[in-house]
Symmetry: C4
Subunit: 254 residues, 4 copies
């Protein structure tokens, strides 16, 4: 197994554990990574709660969401991931969760928008996908086929986050560092917006601010601060690349 | 003691501990299981807080809510359980709790409805029982007789959850896996609905969706993921059936 | 030292620790007990945060709130306790806290009323004391003299809880078991009422229900369940009377 | 290194850890101390999350926010601190955080005011700084230059707290004990005000009360109770001055 492949598999473990520890995922929800060498494959854990995911739980799936040479239980909602990877060649990592704070925005007509700078990566527009729009009232709401996954990915379009009516959200990025930070701050942004709306008219981040924040390289040592901190908090520091001193940058700035 | 009896008693322990760890039960509240071989009996812990329940705390009660050959303290509210088992032959497990999030719906005229797919098992209709309706203003609100228990069970009717005005809720199911998951997501569904109502009109789950989600077998290995995860989190994994690898399915899918 | 005196001192330790662990007290707040043999004295810890109180921190105070033969730092607000003991011969224990959930009711004209049966001991009427009413706008809000303490106690009158504007609450009872349970459920009742008010008209507990719940002996083995559970959770079980099995009744019902 | 310098560096460590443990700072945010012997310098940790800060992470910065003989990563927002120290000779300590509860007040026109006595140090007026007012819509919102820092400090003026639109807050004091307590109670005050506003008209602290509370010496042994308690909770007691008995005053009152 090459270093890049091992890195992607470890990042899936770390991200599962961080998002469980930070209260974004609970008994359900999952994280996947596109295979770095074969873009038609992706990695995702067998059917186990995110907090418990270990490196040996990682399975490999093909472009249709089928496990490759693996008879273990896979989450029925693996098609979320297959759908997004199929339509979004720029995406390397996908998260799906049922986080409470975002659901109110998925079942009402109020738009969730970035109101705090640390959540700017959610971008100014977050669409909502309603499974009933294309598949009617008689589904079990789960994304249990490629047709569902591709429909969701079409609503996601070129955004980073899509809400799912009465269900949760799916988020996608080229960078796991960016994606995990985005997922941690998404529910906090939702709660802040909700509280602000109680007080009256509120001012979201400005378009220029979102654009400028988006230019910061999420994989630079400086911006990895949160990733390293959360990994350490949930006991995954040993899985980090260039571990260095605990929670500290792996090398000094030049 | 047969395996089925031992299994039921262990499930009462696990469910008490999970619901305490997940914040659904606190110093009060209780879980019971119908005796799998004698449908007129049920198991419930002596009067001890849910987080502390151990296998030796389990007492046996008859159809009238009286302890069988046991002089330990029993909860005065054991009649909740006796009442539900009497009127609902399909029910094998009962939970009673005082969970904060559901109380506002018990003291107002707003209906609590499922808004998130993981809570669909609460079903579209949750009745509220008011002890004063049948027993007047002069009770201590506790379900301290079979008359109280049967009255509550009559309002529960064929639903899974009944709210109790200014008190809490009682939930019932044939499956402990389903019941515990339902109890974990009931308060979260309540809070999400409350937040959504701040934003304006909201869209609950559709009738077809609730029906389809209800067709998923709660005792299949795949749907036991949450049960196994929560049991592990609260230190009860050794009490699980077919423990297998920690938090993982006991056997692979065929 | 007699058993009754030692018991009162230990109860002050246990109550401080429980109320810190349950989030009712934080860095500030205090618990006191009247001396069981000399009604003019009371016990309270030296100036230390409630979570840290140990048996050797307990000081003795006289009826004017002065330490008896003790030069350690005492909380300036010991006059809360001295005032209540002076005016309320039936009171054996007093708690003062800054609990967030109750403050909104202290700075608005909305009455806090019992809405859940486990909080019935707060009783139907909770007055609010405003230090400015008697002492003007130019105080530091702290109860730093007998005049302040007696004024507060006069507003408390024959109730169990008094809110203090922009400050917190004081609660009093003849029973430490009742007082601690009341303090745990007071903020939860406040939050539930606040949430219910969002939904519309709400139904508080009825007068008859509050009266009947008030007839339950808080010191009976059965009703000590919460006290024993919380004491165990915060590491104080060894200080309990008749410890028995962990978190279980000390003796069986007859 | 003199005792005063070592004391200031340790206080930066303790304050970082307390504010992380108390939920005021998260992966981001920072604390600084002015150099006690050279007023043109200040101490702040290298780029690491507050919960992880140790004494060897402390770097020295000059009046322009440049590291002194140190090539480690520094937070880009060190200019917040440089700006405040430049304009406020009375300030010895500065905290910057993204605390959720204060943000709603930064993006609406509702003033955050002290409503509870333990938060009186935030004072009656908390201004809001909007980076766009002086620097336009096209910034990344971060305080990444002396121009930004001085602009923020000008809005802070002679207050203790300034909100930053869609970003967080900055607070400053001559005393670390006062500053940390203020930062712990700032979000709690915000939440209480928000809840009170739901109930109707609310009564903030009175001007005289804020003034009188401000006269209490934050560095007296009695008022250090919270500082010592929080330091102990987050494992920093050994870094305290005159440690004495755990969480207790270092010496008795005369």
């Amino acid at each position: 197994m090459t270093d890049a492949v091992e890195r992607a598999r470890r990042d899936v473990v770390i991200a599962n554990r961080i998002l469980a520890a930070e209260g974004v995922l609970d008994a359900f929800g999952h994280v996947s990574a596109r295979h770095p060498l074969d873009k038609n494959l992706f990695f995702m854990a067998q059917s186990v709660s995110p907090e418990l995911v270990e490196i040996d739980d990682i399975m490999t799936f093909d472009a249709q969401g089928n496990p490759v040479d693996d008879r273990r239980h896979a989450s029925v909602e693996r098609f979320i991931h297959a759908g997004v990877y199929a339509r979004r060649p720029d995406v390397n990592f996908v998260v799906h969760g049922h986080t409470d704070e975002v659901i109110p925005f998925s079942i009402t007509d109020v738009a969730l928008v970035p109101v705090i700078n640390v959540a700017a990566d959610i971008t100014a527009h977050i669409p909502t996908w309603d499974i009933a729009d294309e598949f009617g009232d008689n589904t079990n709401t789960l994304i249990s086929s490629m047709a569902h996954g591709l429909s969701l990915a079409q609503t996601l379009a070129d955004h980073r986050v899509v809400l799912m009516r009465g269900h949760g959200f799916t988020a996608a990025s080229s960078s796991i560092v960016q994606l995990v930070r985005l997922c941690v701050y998404l529910p906090r942004n939702a709660r802040i917006q909700l509280e602000a709306m109680r007080l009256g008219e509120f001012r979201p981040l400005k378009a220029g601010e979102i654009a400028r924040l988006g230019e910061i390289d999420p994989d630079s040592p400086a911006s990895q601060r949160s990733w390293r901190y959360w990994a350490r908090k949930c006991g995954c520091e040993s899985l980090l690349e260039n571990a260095g001193a605990p929670g500290r940058p792996a090398f000094s700035a030049s």
